[in-house]
Amino acid sequence: MIVLLLMIFATVILIEVPGMLKKNMRRELIAFFVLIALGMALSIPQALGVKIPSPTKPIEALFRPLSKLLK
């Protein structure tokens, strides 16, 4: 599973990066790697079975009081 995931990331980088290097797109490269890192941070722990807190939780906590309006 984790191997597959890393393979996918490797492929994505292989596909995208050479083109950007050729066109000398620095900002795009930075954005690309930031997003890739984010994607890795979100997916690799999941593949390893580590629980990451869901973003839904804080949102739920924030809006829970309002939801009583719907009752």
Partner: protein, 395 residues
């Protein structure tokens, strides 16, 4: 660029293969369930019986080659606390994966029905495989016994009974309709009844041996209070139930001929509809039921020429009376004997008086016992078939 996309697709496909094909189930790896039967046994446990098709028996053009005819189905039973548990035990007896997608009929044994069916319909609704469109029936006796009975015309009893219900000769209900009646306020469920009968009609001995001299047939209707079966309607009362529920039915009404009361005239029902009007007279629910029936005359025993308006009117009247009688008998039985509103009068009341309904909905069945029901039938003979009158001399 394109090359890389192809590369990505290749990797994706390889990844797919690596992970295996999860939900794949080859056709020759499944046991196709055609009918399921559920009986109550001791200790709150249930017995699940499945009728599994033996595909080889369904191969086309194989039978004519001679040799012994193969059984078309096998029946396996297993016990468990829930249906799913029983199914797991079944899996130990059947070497293939149990596949519910083509289950035609859900047969509930009488014992089970009396104990309450809410616990068992859930599985068939919740799981994605069993279709909501399977027929729900209550078997007189055990469901296991019912399923083990063969059929001559059809290959299995499930198919036979499925076709019988589709013929609309008796009250037939699909699972989702049955569950809706369970869930809805102001109506109580009813389900088709089936039974096994001993017969000697098979002409040839091998057929006789195959079916064990037995046959399945429709047998009235089972009435439920909440999810427990409380009683039966016989075949005639079932017709009354269907008139009152406005269910499509195919059938014959036989009435005395207007000129010769000892000779009969038969009318085939073409379409029927009913309308319930709820009223509250002195806070007693009162219902006006209007049943409309159209039919064709298809048989006449009497000699007279019936193609006269007055005579047809007479036939219409006696037809209406007949239908009314049937409906009354069904109503009496449901209202007085069992006290269950299987007709949906409560729904009609609810729709009309939504505020009053809130107070009485919890004991509607008691209220229903006091309800007054007025049945009005409007029968109409439309066609006379190919003859105007019966051939022969009228002396």
């Amino acid at each position: 660029m394109k090359k890389k996309v192809w590369l990505a697709i290749c990797i994706f496909i390889i990844a797919n293969f690596m992970s295996g094909c999860w939900s794949r189930r080859e056709l020759n790896e499944v046991a196709i369930v055609l009918g399921a039967g559920i009986d109550a046994i001791d200790n709150d446990r249930i017995r699940l019986t499945v009728q599994v098709a033996i595909p080889m028996a369904f191969a086309s053009g194989q039978e004519s080659m001679g040799g012994k005819k193969q059984a078309a189905s096998m029946e396996v039973s297993s016990d468990g606390a829930t249906i799913e548990e029983a199914e797991r035990y079944l899996a130990m007896k059947i070497p293939r994966e149990i596949y519910w997608g083509h289950c035609v009929a859900l047969i509930i044994g009488e014992n089970m029905a009396k104990k309450g069916v809410r616990t068992i319909t859930d599985f068939f609704e919740r799981d994605r495989e069993p279709r909501e469109t399977m027929w729900v029936m209550v078997a007189k006796g055990t469901a296991e016994d019912f399923l083990k009975t063969g059929s001559i015309l059809e290959k299995t009893s499930s198919q036979a009974v499925g076709l019988l219900t589709r013929m609309k000769t008796g009250y037939a209900v699909k699972l989702f309709e049955f569950v809706e009646m369970l869930a809805e306020e102001g109506i109580q469920p009813a389900a088709a009844g089936v039974r096994v009968v001993e017969v000697n009609e098979a002409s040839d001995e091998s057929q006789q041996a195959e079916t064990g001299g037995r046959r399945v047939e429709m047998a009235g209707t089972a009435l439920f209070k909440e999810d427990r079966m409380v009683g039966w309607l016989d075949a005639d009362e079932t017709r009354g139930l269907m008139w009152l529920k406005g269910q499509n039915l195919k059938g014959i009404i036989t009435v005395p001929a207007p000129d010769e009361p000892d000779k009969m005239v038969s009318i085939r029902v073409k379409r029927n509809a009913r309308e319930i009007k709820a009223e509250s007279v002195d806070s007693i629910p009162t219902f006006k039921v209007k049943i409309r029936v159209e039919g064709d005359m298809i048989e006449q025993q009497s000699m007279g020429d019936l193609s006269e308006p007055e005579k047809i009117k007479k036939i219409n009247d006696s037809m209406a009376a007949e239908i009314r009688k049937r409906a009354q008998s069904a109503l009496r039985k449901a209202q007085d004997d069992y006290g269950v509103d299987v007709f949906g009068f409560g729904q009609a009341y609810h729709r009309r008086f939504k505020n009053e309904w809130k107070d009485i909905k919890h004991n509607w069945d008691d209220k229903f016992k006091q309800a007054k029901v007025e049945i009005q039938v409007e029968a109409n003979v439309r066609e006379m078939g190919l003859l105007t009158k019966r051939p022969g001399t009228n002396k």
